[in-house]
Amino acid sequence: MVRSRPPTVVSPVSPPGSLSLQFDGCVADIRGALDSVRSHLAALGLGDERCGAVEIALAEALNNIAEHAFARRPPGPVYLDAEVEGTCLRINLVDLGCPLPGQTLPTGLHHDLDVAPDALPEGGFGWLLIRELTEEVSYIRSGAENRLTLVFSLE
């Protein structure tokens, strides 16, 4: 059983219905953050399917931070803000890790799966899942910060 430390809930200066978390950008702390976000969304009345879509995309974004942004340095903090705006859920992620290659979002294209079993891909699905499950995804490198925003339609 992997123990995931619970994230810190940052004191709410934000509007009701929003959530602010801080946790380390390491694989071990991702489950705790996902649990907190899913509980928050369920409490807001989002259905299981919607919560599942958000959790899958967010898991991929956090895996990327843990495995790439902090790949060659000790994991630093990740700041997560989730807020419902009208018919959208907006999740902002900020970290101080390495920038994305080329400082741009990967395309997240489908792999060719019509290949011999030995040649099937074992990775590279993260951005595909993020792009499939979000309405909009944006990234900027601001100084030493990576700022990734995932927007989900709630309609």
Binding site: M1, V2, S4, V27, A28, I30, R31, D48, E49, G52, A53, E55, I56, A59, E60, N63, A66, E67, H110, H111, L113, P117, D118, L120, P121, E122, G123, G124, F125, G126, L128, L129, E132, L133
Partner: protein, 112 residues
């Protein structure tokens, strides 16, 4: 990673008893699968009905588990829950595996 294997009806039924296959357990999952598939029937059925969540690392670990099988062995899946089915559908990995609705239809569980 908690996996449980039973042999019967010509099938090596491997049941995942954990509720998540994610980046924190992907390597452990793949290693345990290797151990559990080295012996026993060539037809392996992975029962995912307890698994509520999988990420791309977990998906990759299932693909790797299939690729590391010895010659003549086959890995099928059963019991995909909604979020797990969504990941297989969006990545089109559902086209790579034989996916059964539930394991019980292939391997009747013993009456206790």
């Amino acid at each position: 990673m908690n996996l449980h294997s039973t042999h019967g009806n010509g099938i090596n039924l491997i049941t995942v008893t954990d509720t998540r296959i994610d980046s924190s357990v992907a390597i452990s999952f793949k290693d345990t699968m290797r151990t559990l598939t080295e012996q026993g029937p060539d037809h392996i059925l992975l029962d995912l009905s307890n698994v509520a969540f999988i990420d791309s690392s977990g998906l990759g670990a299932i693909v790797a588990s299939m690729k590391q099988l010895g010659r003549g062995k086959q890995l099928d899946l059963a019991g995909l829950t909604p979020d797990v089915a969504k990941v297989f559908r969006l990545t089109r990995m559902e086209t790579v595996f034989n996916i059964h609705k539930n394991a019980a239809s292939l391997v009747p569980r013993p009456v206790s």
